[in-house]
Symmetry: C2
Subunit: 319 residues, 2 copies
């Protein structure tokens, strides 16, 4: 019997889950639609069904599942395992997901912030190289973040540490649904790249993206990045500004936490070196010269499995 | 014999030192001019003389001194006890102050960043109230910072964590001697308040401070704050902007570290509630509404002894 853990990565679009070994290797994984519109009980049922499918798989293969860890969006209380609210999951208000899940599958369960779980998963992938202090920024619809200090997930006094997407990079800047102005995620999330380009087009800027924008009413970050590489001046400006804001966020993390490594993850990193190279260049130009303490900046290695691996590993620690 | 520790707070203007009990009470303290212009050996001699005076005092009183801790400015390597450089201390380049001091007074010694030592001292003053996670900003000539997480000083991978004064609050903002642009300390240090007001006067702004400024060529933060309270419109604008930048820094610390408490210290807090009240108000207006995780914002309690107490306590931990 090999002991293993179920890791679950709950998103607004998909529920991903897998059986993860104590060495953090994913033995098998599955993904189903979240069907978030169905509300809490519907989504919870889908999570439980997925877990039972994985439990059956494990038993058939001679594995013993000892715990389950779930990474979920939204403000939550880690200690009590309650999701307070989740913008992309209607009806998830003060739901005791951890205890409900534990009772349904008869295993100890833990609840983590999804960005924290993904950051911890990525940390495990780099820890063998000597990294102990790391921050990960997940650049998707919003910007999530996770902080690993001295090899441990840092949750903060209120379980909301690492919300780097809501640090203010422009005083009195763009309004954010969170209630602030000038949040990083209004400038440098995948969503924000498309929005900012769309606004410039609406204001009359010249660009090869105009026909796409007129046909569909929006442009994607991928389209902006590709147009930028193709020499489109508007797209190049929007993309470069995005990289500047990310570089500023990295400078600020350098000075507050002084980590060895900052990892960029999420949809935006599909751009690869077209993202990483300018972020590194702007960082080098903008960081101080007073000390040699610049963190390395790298792209995430694990891709879609980071959340599953991290949620499982954090459940393993708690067990 | 009561065991105690010598704590030293080395600044560009004064060297402060004291004998501190294991309960963090200051038994006696002294302050002498640094005479920084004399160079490293001169200043080092003054530190040693001060320590010997305190050792004599301790022996005469039946105390046993077991270690010494020194808080010093500038980038440093905590593990090796070497100050790399210190802008206000000419000649302090790669000086092994810890080992030199240890040999001179025949006691184990430790070296800390001065802002870290002061933050740890303040932490000890609030820890009994249940605080475990705290950030302190010292608003003086520059802005120093110290981060306490789970009751421990967080130094970071390169011993430069907590340099909140060099987080960027204005992209492409005011140039900073550190090599960056838009650093918090260019906007919200005591020095910056005077500089920003002086620039506005030079540009022709109307203000009751004009005569002071013309006579002396500069104005102080204290004069700006008092003029603001007296109804001077320019001074009120400069002071309020200062409080806005500090509030933004607090929002950013909230989201990255999620501490229970942010403490403001240093010369600028002589303004008392005229500083604290607007910082709290701007913070409340500018922080998110997505979660109830706002840190308390308070003024430092210990005043000038924080650095001595913190340096001694950190030496005690290391011993």
């Amino acid at each position: 019997m090999n002991d293993c853990i179920i890791g679950i990565d709950l998103g607004g679009t998909n529920i991903k889950a897998g059986v993860v070994g104590l060495d953090h290797a994913v033995l098998t994984h599955r993904s189903v639609e979240t069907q978030a519109g169905g509300g809490f009980e519907h989504v919870f049922g889908r999570i439980v069904d997925l877990c039972r499918e994985l439990l059956d798989w494990a038993v058939a293969g001679g594995h013993r599942v000892t715990a389950a860890g779930i990474g979920a969006p939204g403000p939550m209380v880690h200690k009590t395992g309650v999701v307070i609210s989740a913008p992309n999951l209607p009806g998830w208000n003060n739901v005791p997901i951890r205890d409900r899940l534990s009772a349904a599958i008869n295993l100890p369960a833990t609840l983590e912030n999804d960005a924290n779980a993904a950051a911890y998963g990525e940390y495990l992938a780099v820890a063998s190289g000597g990294v102990r202090d790391m921050v990960m920024l997940t650049l998707g619809t919003g910007i999530g973040g996770g902080v690993i200090l001295a090899g441990q997930l840092w949750r903060g006094s209120f379980d909301n540490a690492g919300e780097v997407g809501h640090t203010i990079v422009v005083p009195d800047g763009r309004p954010c649904p969170c209630g602030q102005r000038g949040c990083l995620e209004r400038y440098a999330s995948a969503h924000a790249v498309g929005v900012r380009c769309g606004e410039a087009l609406a204001a009359g800027a010249e660009s090869n993206l105009r026909s796409v924008w007129q046909a569909r009413g929006e442009v994607t970050a991928k389209e902006v990045q590709e147009a930028a590489q193709g020499g489109d001046a508007l797209a190049a400006r929007i993309w470069d500004e995005t990289c500047v804001y990310l570089a500023i966020a990295c400078v600020n993390l350098q000075h507050v936490l002084n980590p060895q490594l900052i990892v960029l993850a999420g949809g935006l990193i599909a751009a690869g070196d077209a993202l990483l190279a300018p972020v590194r260049r702007h960082f080098a130009e903008r960081t101080w010269k007073a000390a040699q303490d610049a963190p390395r900046i790298e792209l995430a290695r694990l891709g879609g499995d980071a959340g599953i691996i991290g949620a499982a590993a954090l459940a393993q620690i708690a067990a």
